[in-house]
């Protein structure tokens, strides 16, 4: 198997030994793992690198893991990519994100490993992966700078900590970091596809952000009215009832008819704090939730019907989607969508696809 997945619910050091035993015979070129915050991430990273010494080994802490068609927790889930899949892998860390996002050093490091400029890479063969500290608040700046400097598509997610919101970690080469992002660029022999799926339709109502505090991800006014009042008015409810509708009615920055979801987090005075930035003057559509499981199944089935078979999947799934699935007791149904496909992934504090988005699954499909 060119792609192998495994997961373990044991504690350290048994968890890594368990993973290694499940992957006996594999010679991975790249190992990507997603781990519950129950683990000592520094120790886990060290042990994972020691277990797969010839591979590029990267990972992050999570708010729940996805493993082989199951949604699990308190585990470590890994996907191993061998030389049939990965021709070469380059990796780098961007540190001190809260002090400003400077990617030049990391990109230079990637370029040295790839022996090519990131601006010159073939976007059909190379894919970028980004795992970022989910408490850094730096996702937008990082994705924007990467997007400015390369057309290689970066997908990934913000690390979690099982909804504690105390600290998240990313891991590379046997070390663990906070306030940092891990960048990987993989050259894939068979190519790849990316599925971005979110289960919403437009209500046809729009809100324009007329007063914002971008760094705080705060919108004070939509359409020159207090944000919570404008949002409530769009949904036809009193402002005091609006926060209860946040999960079902996020906002969408529309690219053609495809929403890049901005999820409201909480009311702040008469403003609304979101899980990602909204810029002054942005026009957003008020969205309405549809069936998450059916919509995701449709997206995966459509990809299965395409010409290239699926060798494996990494699913970067928003924690808000996972919370919805847990509330609806549909985690099993969701996991079953990926039955028969080597799959790993995690519940994120935000998803990466060209920018920083919410309530979405960004799914990397290895051909």
């Amino acid at each position: 198997m060119p792609i192998t997945t495994a997961y373990s619910k044991r504690c350290l050091p048994d968890a890594v030994e368990d993973l290694k035993a499940q992957c006996a015979g594999c010679k991975p070129r790249t190992v990507i793992f997603f781990a519950s915050s129950k683990f000592d991430q520094t120790e886990l990273s060290r042990q994972m690198q020691a277990a797969f010494p010839d591979a590029c080994v990267a990972g992050c802490s999570t708010a729940g893991e996805i493993a082989g068609g199951k949604m699990v927790g308190e585990s470590v889930s890994a996907i191993l990519l061998d030389e049939e899949i990965v021709r070469q892998a380059a990796s780098a860390v961007v540190e001190n994100l809260r002090g400003g996002v400077w990617v030049a050093g990391a990109l230079s490091k990637l370029e040295r490993q790839l022996h090519a400029s990131v601006a010159s890479l073939d976007t059909e063969r190379y894919v970028g992966l980004v795992l970022i500290d989910g408490m850094s608040g730096a996702e937008e700046a990082l994705m924007e700078k990467l997007g400015d400097l390369t057309d290689v598509l970066f997908v990934g997610g913000s690390a979690g900590d099982d909804m504690r919101f105390r600290g998240t970690q990313v891991m590379l080469d046997g070390k663990a970091y906070d306030d940092a992002a891990i960048l990987l660029i993989l050259e894939l022999k068979r190519g790849f596809d990316v599925i971005k799926t979110q289960s919403f339709r437009s209500t046809g109502k729009t809100l324009t952000a007329t007063e914002v505090d971008e760094p705080r991800r705060l919108v004070s006014e939509f359409d020159h009215k207090p944000a919570i009042e404008a949002y409530a008015e769009a949904l036809g409810v009193p402002p005091r009832e609006a926060a209860a509708l946040f999960m079902k009615h996020p906002l969408g920055l529309m690219v053609d008819r495809d929403p890049f979801v901005r999820s409201p987090q909480r009311v702040d005075g008469r403003g609304i704090v979101f899980y990602c930035q909204i810029k002054q003057g942005m026009e957003l559509e008020v969205l309405e939730a549809t069936d998450l499981v059916a919509h995701t199944r449709q997206a995966i089935d459509a990809r299965k019907a395409a010409a290239h078979p699926i060798s494996g999947i990494i699913d970067f799934q928003c924690i808000l989607r996972t919370l919805q699935l847990r509330a609806e007791n549909r985690c099993g149904e969701y996991g079953a969508i990926f039955d028969g496909i080597p799959t790993a992934g995690f519940s994120t504090y935000g998803e990466a696809y060209l920018g920083h988005i919410n309530q979405t699954s960004t799914i990397l499909v290895f051909r």
């Binding site: 924007e144 997007g147 942005m282």
Partner: protein, 66 residues
Amino acid sequence: MAGMIKDMIDTITEKRSKGNPTIAMTTKTKFILKGVNPDRFDAGSADDPAVIAKVRAIGAEMGVSV
């Protein structure tokens, strides 16, 4: 005067994508995420100096001088 904003966006997109339609689409998405929706501008759009400055800055960020 009118139409300069669309011309600038088109130039940045062409130089960046070099005719690759997928990259042209992702470039459009990057414009929208940066707060400028290319679909809002056509040959008749007024040459708003603030928008022109913003598009020029986006071009510079993307490594394209316009």
